[in-house]
C-alpha cells in the first residue's frame, strides 16, 4: 500500500503533538515502522493513520483514497482496522474469549458460534489455549498482549496498527509478542508499528517513518534508513539505541 500524509497537525491545547507532518511511502510498503524519540508524535500519528483520531489540519490518504474527517466516516474506517496498545486495553470485565467475540458479534454481525470459532482459532494460534475463560487480570502481561492482538486480528483487518506493543513487557514476554508480530508480518498482514525495538523493526519493516518534535524527519525504505540515515537526528537516535545491544 502507499501511505501518504499532507501537513497533518494535531493539537492538545497549546501543544502540537503533530506539527505539519508530511510523508509518503513507496507504492508497495506493507510493514511500516514509526520510529523516533518519546514525545515525538509516533502514537498520535499512528492514531491518525488508523482513524482513531481526526487531525485538526491536513489529511491522510491510503492508496490515493483520502481518509474521512467526520465521526461516522471515521467509525466505518476504524472498523476495517485492528489496534493494539501499549497497555493492552482489554476489557477487564470480560474473559479473553469474550473480549474477542463481543466486537465480532456486535460490530461485524457474526453469530455467536461463528465468533467463538474465529476467536478460539486465533487464541490457539497465539498460544493461549486453556486461557480462553480467564479474565485479563488472571493473565500475564505477555498473554494479555497476545489476547489483545487476537482481538485486533479477529475481524481480519486490512491494517493492523500497533502502538509500542512491548513497552510494558519484560524481555521474555517482549520476545513472545514480537514472535507473534513477526509471524503476522511474514504471513502478509499489512502493519503499522510504533516501536522503540529498532532491531526488531530492522528485521520486519520495509518502510520507516522517523518522527521527532511532531514532524516527519525522514521517510525512507527500511534498508536505506538503517544503513544510511539521512538526518543527523536519526543517526543520533540509532546510535543511542544500539549502544547497549
Amino acid at each position: 500500500m502507499k501511505l501518504e500524509t499532507h501537513a497533518v497537525t494535531k493539537r492538545y491545547g497549546a501543544h502540537a503533538a503533530l506539527d505539519g507532518a508530511s510523508f509518503a511511502t513507496g507504492d508497495s510498503a506493507r510493514v511500516i515502522a514509526l520510529l523516533g524519540p518519546s514525545g515525538g508524535g509516533k502514537s498520535t500519528l499512528l492514531r491518525v493513520l488508523g482513524c482513531l483520531l481526526v487531525p485538526d489540519e491536513g489529511h491522510v490518504s491510503i492508496d490515493a483514497r483520502t481518509l474521512p474527517h467526520d465521526e461516522d466516516g471515521a467509525l466505518t474506517e476504524r472498523r476495517g482496522n485492528g489496534f493494539v496498545f501499549q497497555g493492552y486495553n482489554l476489557f477487564p470485565h470480560l474473559t479473553a474469549l469474550q473480549n474477542i467475540t463481543l466486537p465480532l458479534k456486535e460490530v461485524h454481525g457474526m453469530s455467536e458460534s461463528e465468533a467463538a470459532q474465529r476467536a478460539l482459532e486465533l487464541l490457539h494460534r497465539l498460544g493461549l489455549e486453556s486461557h480462553e475463560h480467564k479474565r485479563p487480570s488472571q493473565l500475564s502481561g505477555g498473554q494479555q498482549q497476545r489476547a489483545a492482538i487476537a482481538r485486533a486480528l479477529a475481524p481480519k483487518p486490512r491494517l493492523l496498527l500497533l502502538d509500542e506493543p512491548t513497552s510494558a513487557l519484560d524481555p521474555v514476554m517482549t520476545g513472545e509478542v514480537l514472535d507473534v508480530i513477526r509471524e503476522l508480518a511474514e504471513a502478509g498482514q499489512s502493519i503499522i508499528l510504533a516501536t522503540h525495538e529498532i532491531s526488531f523493526a530492522r528485521k520486519v519493516a520495509d518502510w520507516v517513518v522517523f518522527l521527532a518534535a511532531g514532524k516527519v524527519q525522514e521517510s525512507s525504505s527500511a534498508a536505506q534508513f538503517f544503513t544510511k540515515p539521512q538526518t543527523e537526528l536519526a543517526q543520533q537516535y540509532l546510535e543511542g539505541l544500539s549502544k547497549y545491544r
Partner: protein
C-alpha cells in the same frame, strides 16, 4: 452474632432506665401498624425504581453532547439536591399538584420522593461512569463500537460495580425519608406509630417495632447489594 450482642446491649440499656412499658396498648393497633408498614414499603419500592431510572436519565443528561441538555440536567440536580425534601413535598403537593388539580397524595408523594433521590443517584452514577479510564474508551473506539455500544458493553457493566455501594446507601436513605410523606397526609409507618402512641397514651412502645420494621427491609437490601458486588467482582 452481632445482632444478638446488639439486642442484649439494647435490652440491658432499656432495663436500666425505669420506664414502665405498656405493650398491650400498642398491640391493639397491630393491624394499623401493618397497614402503615405496607404503605411505606409500597411507596418506597416504587420510588426506588423511579429514582434509579430517573437518576440514570439525569446522569446521561449531564453527559449529553448538547449543552442546553447538560445545563438543564445540572440545574435539576443542584436544585433538588440543594433544598430540603420537606419543602419540596409541601410545595410540590399543596402548590404544584393542587394547581394542576391532582388529588392523589400517594402518587405525588412517590414521584417527589423518587425525584429527590434520583438527583443524588445521578451523581453517584456519574462518578462511576466518569471513573472508567480513557484507555477503556479508546479501546471501545478501536474495536469499532459507536457511542451507544460503548455505553452498553464497556461503560455500564464496569460502572455498575462501582456505583453499587453508593446506590445501596441511597436506597436505604430513601426508605427512611419516606417517613416525611406524612406532611402531605399519607399515613405511612411513622405516622401510624405517632397516631398509635397518642391513642394508647404510650410514648416509646411504638418506636421499637418501628425501628425493627425498617431493619427488616434495609438489612436484606444491604445483603443483596453485597452479593451483587461479589458477583460483579473482578480485578482491574
Amino acid at each position: 452474632m452481632l445482632l444478638v450482642l446488639v439486642s442484649a446491649a439494647a435490652y440491658a440499656l432499656f432495663a436500666s432506665v425505669h420506664y414502665r412499658w405498656n405493650w398491650s396498648g400498642v398491640w391493639k393497633y397491630r393491624q394499623q401498624f401493618g397497614i402503615g408498614w405496607l404503605t411505606t414499603l409500597g411507596i418506597s419500592l416504587a420510588a426506588m425504581l423511579m429514582s434509579v431510572l430517573f437518576g440514570f436519565v439525569l446522569m446521561l443528561g449531564r453527559r449529553a453532547r448538547w449543552e442546553p441538555v447538560r445545563m438543564f440536567s445540572g440545574a435539576v440536580v443542584e436544585i433538588v439536591r440543594g433544598s430540603p425534601l420537606l419543602v419540596q413535598l409541601l410545595v410540590g403537593y399543596y402548590i404544584v399538584a393542587n394547581a394542576l388539580r391532582i388529588d392523589m397524595p400517594l402518587l405525588v408523594g412517590l414521584l417527589l420522593l423518587g425525584a429527590f433521590h434520583a438527583a443524588y443517584l445521578a451523581e453517584i452514577f456519574r462518578g462511576a461512569v466518569e471513573s472508567i479510564g480513557a484507555s477503556q474508551l479508546e479501546a471501545a473506539r478501536a474495536v469499532g463500537f459507536d457511542r451507544q455500544q460503548t455505553y452498553r458493553f464497556v461503560i455500564i457493566p464496569q460502572a455498575l460495580r462501582r456505583a453499587l455501594p453508593g446506590t445501596t446507601g441511597q436506597l436505604v436513605s430513601l426508605l427512611k425519608d419516606s417517613s416525611l410523606l406524612s406532611v402531605i397526609g399519607i399515613e405511612e409507618l411513622v405516622q401510624k406509630v405517632k397516631i398509635m402512641n397518642s391513642a394508647s397514651y404510650t410514648a416509646l412502645e411504638g418506636y421499637v417495632p418501628l425501628a425493627l420494621a425498617y431493619l427488616v427491609v434495609t438489612l436484606p437490601l444491604s445483603h443483596l447489594a453485597r452479593r451483587l458486588e461479589g458477583r460483579f467482582a473482578y480485578e482491574t
